[in-house]
Assembly symmetry: C5
Homo-oligomer: 310 residues x 5
């Protein structure tokens, strides 16, 4: 994710980092080449004048507008939902930790609060690794007992397995409490609700990660945008003459860039500059949980020189 | 559902599998034929010049844009909701299994955890079959006792019947627990909530499956799109001459393709290439539940050679 | 609601049943007449040439697009919400019945499960009648004791009264259970939640039914659409000549039809062809509840010859 | 709110009551005057021809469309949400009353059900008065003991104070019950949930009432609409000549009217013809609660002669 | 936030405060300068006529409309969500206070209600400071014991720490109650739910505050708007001549202003004139809680002379 301080309207016109310009330069150069060809040949191709003027473009423009707007909205909705789910992870993890601290007896009673905290943090790291398809072993080893980390690393659904272990700890604590004569189950239910919330967040992330926007939309939009831009120079050259390349590249830039942004945003768990900062959010959950438990709080992640934060 | 690795922008222009091109080729050929006729006759029809120019098309374009955008959004909303409901099935099934494992006494106490697991998996398969209107007998027989499978196969609402049986198992376990002197009902409630969630998911799927987008929209959009495209060659031929067929087929492609995609997407439980991968999702639920119970985990379904996953 | 099997793209162009064409034929004939007049007089009216060309139509088109899109979206949102509420009725009724069967003692204990079932079914019928403003007496008499049916028929909020009676049955069962030494209230709460859900669904239906889309929108859209279509022939006749009637009727068809569909959809509990199939949904709830209780299941309602299902 | 029986498409063109026409007549007359001036001077102003043609209008039209669509959607979303909140008030009040009747012991046990009912009704009236900034004293005095009504009238947050009193009654009833040996708190919780729901509805209404759509939007839209309409006659007069006033007033009507409707709708608790019928809804809650308690039910409010219902 | 009494349609055209005009004056002057240059040179630049006419602008207009509409909707959605979260804070704080007053024993039993109230109010102030990145020390010192205020001021997540303390007070009260022989946990759960709601609101605010709309959108929109406006004078001068500056500045005003509003709105916790009135809302929560406890109620914040309320 790009986090930049607000900048002057003029400098904003020449920003490079964080714009998607770099990913679409080759295609823009192709459009530039076609435009120059059209200007050079005065729109003649294959030995004759291309009888193309500006008439067809608004007709295609209707479809184009619908495709682009839809694609962009669908992609952004995925991005926003992904961010909301991670917000819920922070919220549920904090609430669970706070409830455990305030409602469950301290370690003397057999409840290992420290282990609970470690597993909760490990859960968030494991989820990040699952979503980014990276290897969680190192982070698991950092927070969990060696044995447990190795065991988990071989599983398919690691975050779920960690939640199951948290649930087991809660169940045992409740049973010990009941044996001691207290009520237990309403409390269990209270705590279980937060675990379920975390589990729902995992399911939500998996859904976004596993189910892309239907493939056919991408193909259709891609073809429409590119055919439109390839035809544009021959349609405009009669009217605009030497300004054609400028206008065509400008139009192509707006269309290619929107398609490229939508592409990045629609996979919010990726590592492109406009994806979510999973690492920073994971660290943030960790920091908040550690502060709640009165432990030392590590540094928050900061954007790099290019304003990118992963 | 089509799952393809991201591909080059150039190859993306020539993708065949997963685009809806194959379903609209006949119609595009008809538009091509009409365009060629218009070029050949220089727009003369029935012995006279069709006095059609480009003027009316933007007027119809307003309606067309509204119809297409609406149809597409409505269809996609159904697709997304269907996917979310299946996400909730995964979430609720996992939570239910985890609660049963951690909070209910093991089989020694009379609760048949294994049967519970089998019924839960059978429930997901039964729902898939109901939504795809296929025969569930085989899958029921694979997971359930013979007797039960036969009994269920004769019912109208099989997934609901399976949930009722799960609820009965929970009720009995709670009663046994209460007789043993423990609290029971808060726990029952905790477990019941997940069963209710599964039952709500069934209701949601039935709703999407039984209530299409109002028929009149489809008719109206279909007529507008086709009349528009049929009239287009005669309107453009005066301006564009020999390029008319190219432009008309391009415009028609964007419109027909969007209508075709929206049609597929609006019935997300179907078996077209852009529908949901119910089988893969069912298998995913099964895999996750089995791993939670420490059982062997079968392979995940993979996309076929044509990138399709059912 | 129109339920038609998917049909050929060609036949779809000539569908009559379920399209709204029949409700707008008179207006289309008027547009045809005006268009013919415009062609006949070459756009002269009141002794002089109407200096109208195509210039103003795109200007009005902006407003028109906004009005139509808004009206249509608002109407469809009401339709979808109404359908979702009925989905929740099915879900809550099933869950309530399943909980009553599995958690409440059978009739021996004084709980009249059969009466409960009958009142629950009667509730759904009563709601349908209230929403369609039809007489519920017959259906009430079919499911309820004569006395009770007569008493209810005189009330203003019959579905609510039936829910209150269900709640009373649950309260008594809970009290009996408590007297017998068991826990009662968590269970009561579990069951109460489903009754509340049904009650919320009643409130939601009443809201949609009693609060139309603000009247001023309808007037504004109506006037804009009709003035636009009345002026259209005089604007187009200069350009299009003899084709004017064809184009004007086509444009008017798309606009009138969308307005007509939106009108039907915006009152989803009505009996127009594009309204919800309340009767079929009511029967579906009844069927599902009866199957849950092991009773005989009546036939589902089927679409009539004209593909309509009420 | 305007509630009119459905009317003929022709009469709908000439409706006066409930359209916003009356609020925009002065502005339309100004546009008419400017148009006539433009026709009279053939577009000459300040001694020279205004070189304005139709070119700039589509350019401004893009912004205009975005502003109008946004403003209208934002306003309607507020209207719909306000209506939904009032729907939830009806739902929660009914559920609370039903639970109190069925689960709490009758008055003999010290719970004053009648007072509870009166306070609940007074709550709804107090909320209506708060939202419309009218004096609640009269209605409070009608439903509450004199003392209490006077005390409340001096407070800032009257509906909240009434809910606090309802909560106190429930707390006392629960305590009495517990002292009598029964369970109390699950029941308390059940009832508390409905009070919380009512309290949430109050908060929601206050939010809509206190936070308008950001002011800058209104200014921007207003200026764009009026400048556009003021310039329009000079742009069209060259093309349209004597028809200019007709077209300009028509275009201005669609824009001014949409702005005016959006303005009314965006403050849904006001008393304009297109605002919510708070009084009728309040009466409806009262009627439903009274029928639940078996009390006499007053008449429902009916629309006045001009189809308006407040 | 700007709160102005409704004003005359004519005066609305000349409003200065609260419009974003002041922030875009420099850019508008630049457009004016370019337009005058274009008029002066009759569109000649670099020694030759710029062959730019109005053709390309509608082509870019499609992208522009999509970008502006998207950006604006995304920004407004953030604004609305932020406001809703603050609404939920008011609702949850009131409900928590009401439950504490009515369900928890008064101070004699060891529960310090006064401290609870102070911490709750301090929580809202601390959240406001966190979101506006201002120093909370003064407000913390005003409501909390000196010691506690100092301790909190050194933490990273102050509002969360305050909620944890509230939870601890509730846990202790519940334990005291249980020791006294009463039920405790259902009550605890009831109260815990409101604390969780407040905690969720904190998480929601942090999410909106920390995750801007993806940066690339802003760059893309900014460039498109400015290039469009820079090119506009040379495209229009041929048609419009001396009116060009008027039209160009008008078009630029609508585009720049919308971008500027969207920018302000998208950071709803800022201090620009169109941001949320956090201070006033904080005061409102404080007032409502104090009135619930029967304490003196301070004045509500009022808009300043320029109609601004922070």
């Amino acid at each position: 994710m790009i986090i930049r301080p607000p900048t002057n309207w003029l400098r904003m016109l020449f920003v490079w980092d964080g714009s998607v310009l770099k990913t679409i330069v080759p295609q823009l150069l192709i459009i530039l080449a076609i435009s120059l060809l059209a200007v050079y040949t005065h729109g003649h191709l294959f030995g004759g004048k291309m009888p193309l003027d500006t008439v067809p473009f608004p007709l295609v423009g209707v479809s184009l507008a619908i495709f682009l707007a839809f694609r962009n909205n669908a992609a952004y909705a995925r991005y926003v939902e992904a961010r909301q789910i991670w917000g819920r992870i922070l919220i549920a993890a904090r609430a669970l930790m706070s409830q455990v601290i305030n409602y469950l007896p301290a370690d003397g009673d057999g409840f290992e609060r420290k282990l609970f905290l470690q597993r909760l943090i490990a859960f968030v790291y494991a989820l990040t690794h699952q979503l980014r398809k990276t290897d969680p072993s190192e982070d698991l080893a950092r927070y969990l007992p060696k044995e447990e980390a190795r065991e988990l690393a071989g599983m398919h659904y690691i975050p779920i397995a960690l939640l199951d272990r948290l649930r087991l700890m809660l169940a045992r604590a409740a049973r010990r409490r009941q044996d001691g004569g207290g009520e237990s189950e309403s409390l269990l239910w209270l705590l279980d609700k937060q675990v379920s919330e975390l589990s729902a967040a995992v399911g939500g992330c998996e859904r976004i990660s596993n189910t892309p926007i239907p493939f056919a939309y991408g193909v259709l939009l891609h073809r429409t945008v590119y055919l439109y831009c390839f035809m544009l120079p021959f349609g405009l050259v009669g009217d605009l003459g030497a300004v054609t390349p400028l206008v065509c590249v400008f139009v192509a830039y707006t269309l290619f860039a929107l398609e490229a942004i939508a592409q990045e945003i629609s996979e919010p768990f990726g590592t492109e500059p406009n994806c979510l900062a999973l690492n920073a959010m994971t660290r943030n959950v960790e920091r908040s949980l550690l502060e709640q438990c009165g432990e030392d709080v590590p540094e928050a992640l900061k954007p790099c020189d290019r304003y990118n934060i992963s």
